[in-house]
Symmetry: C3
Subunit: 132 residues, 3 copies
């Protein structure tokens, strides 16, 4: 079961909660026990699993990353989005989740986020489910 879906990101830097779309792929796979692999085919966006309850957590993560890797700086890459490449590598382009009882085994406060650092754009998310 390998699926691709698209996400329209809303700002230069923004997190999009993709948990419902990933959960739908798991559900459609009818796989009870296994793992779910999520990747993005992009180099200026990433993925993270973090709190989905209070949106200010997402803002704090974006702000903290901006302090660590400022949008403007003495970068060599000439496209003006070097900071986004660095942030993508810091969070990673792939994440893996457990599937048990036919559902994603996320913690109470966990959601899966597409992390946009060079938007707004339309991004792709790749999801597969592998049986145990």
């Amino acid at each position: 079961m390998f699926k691709i879906f698209s996400v329209k990101t809303g700002a230069q830097a923004s997190f999009s909660d993709i948990t419902p779309q990933v959960a739908a792929v798991v559900s459609a796979s009818k796989i009870g026990e296994g793992i779910c692999v999520v990747t993005v085919p992009h180099t200026t966006a990433g993925l993270t699993v973090n709190e989905n309850a209070d949106p200010s957590v997402q803002e704090d993560i974006i702000t903290a990353l901006d302090k660590l890797v400022p949008v403007r700086g003495p970068y060599r890459h000439s496209e003006g989005n070097s900071h986004a490449h660095v942030k993508s590598s810091l969070l990673g382009h792939s994440h893996i989740l457990h599937v048990s009882g036919g559902s994603l085994k996320l913690g109470t406060w966990q959601g899966i986020f597409l992390c946009e650092f060079d938007g707004p754009r339309t991004r792709e998310v790749h999801v597969s489910v592998i049986p145990a």
Copy 2:
């Protein structure tokens, strides 16, 4: 083979070596060749694979992360643990390891660590083993 075990963390920020518990799940699975997936269902803790010989490496990682993302700061999230959410995203909530010959294929100096950033607490670790 999907198992959950608990870890009591000892300080606000601390690394717990969970290699023996993960290795025990691999052993019990009787899977010779495949992969082992480790995740935490938490948003203020993470996982890393790093040196398990000299404990000062763990201290250096904790100190470096504290410099990058200070415990106190002008964060928006009101629970006082925003730094822990950011650190969790920087290290990641999931890791994957190779299994070959019925054992974890770790390097000589590698151990698997639960990284606590908002403790002490009792944390859960989720482990599965997938055959190749």
Copy 3:
């Protein structure tokens, strides 16, 4: 399908594009649909997936990481490579990629890089392919 290959890194900090070697393992596995898992058995090197077109992106990532975690600092670990341990944890020792139609499902601009932070050395890369 589990394979190990070696990479000679060229500098203290450098990225080596290992996409061809990983793609060769996927091809040899004859697995059409599944996932490819890449790990390094090292604690002062890591892996990332990022742009393989303009090499200045790799330089920008290395420079950004050096600013965040300086080579020299008041570290406790006495081997002088604490910064490399921290960078390894920030990027991660494992990555996962989708395999579809018998090939790695990488984005147009994505390559897989071994990230050396304590070289030059000969490093190992572990690759496996798991069917869906």
